[in-house]
């Protein structure tokens, strides 16, 4: 069972539709913790403001997700869902993230380029990424965001806009993508297929 978390930040339709197209049967929860406890995979979508993740704390979903990740349940955060994996974001400094990655997200530096970063940009995929396996140089994905995570050892792909930032992050069973795989054509479908096929390392089949 794949559980999609709804924290009332934007629209889940595209993510659900795409997961169904790929043969998954997603269930949605905005507070039923049993759907997180029994999940085989978890997706946390999200557009809009980082402050909206406060709902995850208020409903107990944060603790349930933390426990699921500790059980090696594959987890994918998309856009704000990826940013939530960090310690926090300057977009809502009072609101902590999950802290799976110790750094924080910040806004693109002021300059002549437009912020938000909207459109199709390329990925420099780092060797060893399982989530982005099969993504070739010259493939593009769709971004729409004003905040981003820093490039660190856990970065699975780097994208350049104003400065290099983490387009994807991956450590063990915890993954995040700053772009929208559900809106990124065949490349996005390939990435979501990788996630749906993900088996925890060492887990028997």
């Amino acid at each position: 069972m794949i559980t999609v978390i709804d924290y009332k930040a934007g629209n889940l339709t595209s993510v659900l539709k795409t997961l169904r197209y790929l043969g998954a049967e997603p269930v949605v929860t905005d507070g039923d913790l049993s759907l997180v406890e029994s999940a085989e995979r978890i997706v946390l979508p999200g557009v809009g403001h980082f402050a909206a993740t406060e709902k995850l704390d208020a409903t107990g979903l944060t603790s349930a997700i933390r426990a699921a990740i500790a059980r090696d349940v594959p987890f994918l955060g998309i856009c704000v869902g990826m940013q939530w994996l960090y310690a926090g974001s300057t977009e809502a400094p009072q609101q902590p993230g999950l802290g799976a990655f110790s750094e924080s997200c910040s806004r693109f530096a002021e300059c002549t380029e437009k912020v938000p970063h909207v459109g199709w940009n390329s990925l420099e995929v780092r060797e060893g990424s399982r989530l982005l396996a099969g993504v070739e140089p010259g493939e593009f994905v769709y971004f729409t965001h004003s905040y981003k995570g820093p490039v660190t050892a856990d970065t699975a792909a780097v994208t350049q806009y104003i400065e290099p930032f983490a387009a994807a992050v991956e450590r063990g069973n915890v993954m995040g993508v700053q772009f929208h795989p559900e809106k990124s054509g065949e490349t996005g479908l390939k990435i979501l297929r990788n996630f749906l096929a993900w088996q925890a390392k060492g887990a028997g089949c």
Binding site: G10, N11, Y21, V47, P116, H180
Partner: protein
């Protein structure tokens, strides 16, 4: 590298793609879902579906069309035409749109921009502006006027000011149509597009006047557009996103080439 977007626009009337000059002499140009999928396959970076019926009885037909079109479309999908309230927008999002484009309703009630943005995010709100240069003004471009009702009626606002206000109220992108250039196939209004792009911090999509590949290169360069809308140039197989983008790449414009 961030690429320039080519957006395919489908005008839809009563559930069918139509094509006509200035909404007159409509020709049937196919099924929206089939056309959208074809454009995405050929490399369009985004699809805009513009409902030109926008009558009350047409709403249900539109929602059905959006649902059918979204089902197997995996690029950003924007829907415009007849969205007058946050509830209208919500229905379109639930049917599978990623963005809505609002035009006269935003002029009539500017709070609509933030009302939609606060629930669905700024990235989901595109404010469409129909613009005409003001030939009587000292600076016809910077004092260009906003028009409504298909470009027939002045809204009493200046384009640059309204674009700035839309941004402040939480629009994620501006879709700027030059009514002077629209339908001419003589090129985008690059001066006007540049004036708006310089005035706002959000991306500007240029629309109206596309006739050749050079017109696109021009609006991405001189016009400072982040994306450009193409409608008639794509119909009836005249030109595809793929061939357009291949030509743009040769001209040095960064574009996403389809796999």
């Amino acid at each position: 590298m961030l690429t320039k977007r080519i957006i395919a626009c489908l005008d839809v009337h009563a559930g069918r793609v139509v094509k006509g000059v200035q909404f007159v002499d409509l020709i049937d140009a196919g099924d929206p879902a089939t056309q959208a999928a074809r454009h995405a396959r050929e490399g369009a970076d985004e699809i805009v579906l513009l409902d030109i019926t926008a009558t009350h009885e047409g709403r249900q037909t539109l929602l059905d069309t959006v649902r059918r079109t979204a089902r197997e479309l995996f690029v950003p999908f924007c829907v415009g035409g007849g969205i007058k309230s946050a509830r209208d927008a919500e229905q379109v999002f639930e049917a599978g749109a990623d963005k809505v484009s609002i035009n006269s309703a935003a002029l009539a009630d500017p709070d609509l921009i933030s009302a939609i943005g606060s629930s669905f995010g700024a990235q989901a709100v595109v404010v469409a502006i129909d613009a005409r240069r003001d030939p009587a003004a000292a600076d016809p471009v910077r004092e260009a006027q906003v028009f409504v009702h298909g470009g027939r009626k002045p809204a009493g606002r200046r384009v640059v000011e309204w674009a700035r206000e839309a941004e402040e109220r939480g629009a994620g992108e501006i879709l700027l149509t030059s009514m002077d250039a629209d339908g001419t196939r003589a090129g985008f209004d690059c001066e006007l597009t540049a004036a708006v792009s310089e005035a706002v911090g959000i991306p500007v999509i240029a629309s109206g006047g596309a006739g050749t590949v050079a017109h696109f290169a021009d609006v991405f360069g001189r016009g400072q557009a982040h994306a450009a809308l193409a409608a008639s140039i794509f119909h009836f197989g005249v030109s595809t996103s793929r061939s357009l983008k291949e030509e743009l790449a040769k001209a040095g414009v960064p574009v996403r080439l389809p796999c």
